[in-house]
Amino acid sequence: MLDSIPELCLDVAPADRAWLEEGAARAAREGSVAIASLLPALPRRIGRRALGSDVAAVGSARVDLRAWRACDGAARLLLRDADDAAILDLFKHGDMEERTMLLRAASTRPLSPATVSLLGEVQRSNVQPHYEALVCDNDLLARASGAVAGFGQAEASRLVLKAAFLGLPMHRMLGVERLANPELSRMLQDLATEREAAGRQVWPDTLAMMARAPVPGTAARALGDLEHGADDRRAAAIAALALLNREDLMPFLRERLPREPKPQLRAALKQQTGV
């Protein structure tokens, strides 16, 4: 899908499709000089049609194609042979859309020092679409943590924390569960507390992330949410308690079971308590 010009150009005018074919050849031949003038025109000429509806393997990466637009796929083609210097140069001089396309494309490139630089850029950025393009709807964080120089657990944790800060669900970072650690849980829990004090909240699945590496307070949070009035918060609490898997917490789950109105959540409670 992502490597095929005909599939990327399903509803694209023949002239624009020919332009992309010629452009891809020029990009391979001439490098970043050619790409710099091709990249800005991609949304206009190739469009923003969604590319798919499920998660797919792209090389060694996994991506959620619901986040990919035709112009992102075309950018990936243009950047196929670009080296680190070209990627960083194009990012530096890119406008909003160019950066979005470049970052989404970069999430599927082999890990390199440029990956670390771009992760640093989106960590600093206040532009949420850029953060999402590189970090969400793919497994880059999980793949990169500890696998490339300069990007360890602390750096990955800060990016996960930023997702929570931006109000994004954990599940949009594929494989994020592998990044669980107590320091991250403490930071997420502090953020959740701060938000709640202000009458706001973090995404419900943040609780499960904390439960994978619990810190003092995590179990109490999950138990409290077991009685929450919102279905999604109770669902998150049940998922978190399953991860905590503590025998001493089972009485609370059993106590909730007969009063749980949602059939789906009741089934989950039954499974956990063995009733």
């Binding site: 710099a36 003038s37 800005p40 025109a41 949304p43 206009r44 469009g47 923003r48 049609r49 969604a50 619901r66 986040a67 637009r69 001089h93 406008d95 909003m96 859309e97 160019e98 950066r99 206040n126 532009v127 949420q128 679409p129 800060f165 931006l166 109000g167 994004l168 669900p169 949009r172 706001r200 995404w203």
Partner: protein, 298 residues
């Protein structure tokens, strides 16, 4: 009334301005690159400023439901400065390829020096090369003569007048530009340049053909609501709605659409809405709650 504001420096405005402009009908703004109130001494500060116009400012604007476009150029005041002029000319071509860059500007004359003329002419050639219209800043001092000089240079270069917006006009300059085939811009200010009442008189006398109005608001005493305020006065003067719409919507869009990068139909909906709902069928939120998305923004 939908408004395309064809000259405003949002870089120097606060979010309250965006909110009030959107409420008053401003659907899109064009932000010409200009000087920043004090001299820049290295090209790097230009590059960062240009990047802001393409990136952060655009993002900021769209958060408030206002489309953001820009023109890029070396302004006449800093064209005189050898610390930056050639270096800026070197980086400009790359920016002129960007999707939200709809023209070359503000270029033109300020003190009317030979150096200004040299960089003005060079940028007119850049516009020709990149197939873009130009937004011309005309001098605030010795305006009539400066206006004529700006036009003479364009004639010498045989640059098509239909692709020229001569800005900061007044009652005197409209007499010069009326029959040229270029677009005349009027910058409506609280105290200087042109005011709302005088603008109504100009419209009543000359009509709105090849005419646009803007606030040119920046970090000085200025008002980003001057276009909607002028619209209100035009209505009070019984100017037809279709005429007002031509002045504040069709004229500026038709002019900048000559870049090939702007389509009127793309401005039918405000930005932001598409982010919260779906974008061409692709739900950006994917199951997230739009209300939560709103509150998550900080």
């Amino acid at each position: 009334m939908r408004i395309f504001e064809p000259h405003v420096h949002m870089f120097s405005r606060v979010t309250d301005d965006y909110e009030r402009m959107a409420e008053a009908g401003v659907r899109a703004v064009l932000e010409p690159a200009f000087w920043l109130g004090q001299a820049r001494t290295t090209v790097g500060t230009f590059v960062d400023y240009f990047d802001t116009l393409l990136g952060w400012e655009r993002h900021r604007s769209e958060q408030f439901g206002v489309w953001h476009f820009c023109t890029m150029g070396l302004n006449p005041r800093e064209a005189n400065d050898p610390r930056v002029n050639d270096a800026v000319m070197e980086v400009l071509p790359r920016y002129l390829e960007k999707d939200s860059v709809l023209g070359v500007g503000e270029i033109g004359l300020d003190d009317q020096t030979k150096t200004e003329e040299k960089y003005y002419a060079a940028q007119v050639e850049l516009a020709r090369k990149h197939d873009l219209p130009i937004l011309v800043h005309t001098p605030h001092r010795d305006k009539k003569r400066g206006f004529e000089r700006c036009i003479d240079i364009l004639k010498d270069l045989a640059f098509p007048m239909a692709r020229v917006l001569l800005d900061h006009g007044n009652e005197e300059t409209i007499k010069i530009t009326r029959d040229l085939g270029c677009v005349s811009g009027f910058s409506i200010y609280p105290h200087t340049k042109m005011d709302c009442e005088r603008m109504v008189k100009i419209v009543l006398e000359h009509g709105v053909e090849n005419m646009v109005i803007n606030s040119a608001a920046d970090w000085g005493v200025s008002d980003p609501l001057r276009v909607p305020k002028t619209v209100a006065l035009l209505r009070r003067a019984n100017v037809a709605e279709t005429t007002i719409e031509k002045l504040v919507w069709h004229n500026p869009i038709d002019f900048f659409a000559q870049s090939g990068r702007l389509k009127k139909s793309d401005l039918e909906h405000a930005p932001g809405k598409s982010v919260l709902e779906t974008f061409e069928g692709n739900s950006v939120l994917r199951g997230q709650d739009p209300a939560r998305f709103e509150t998550a923004r900080e």
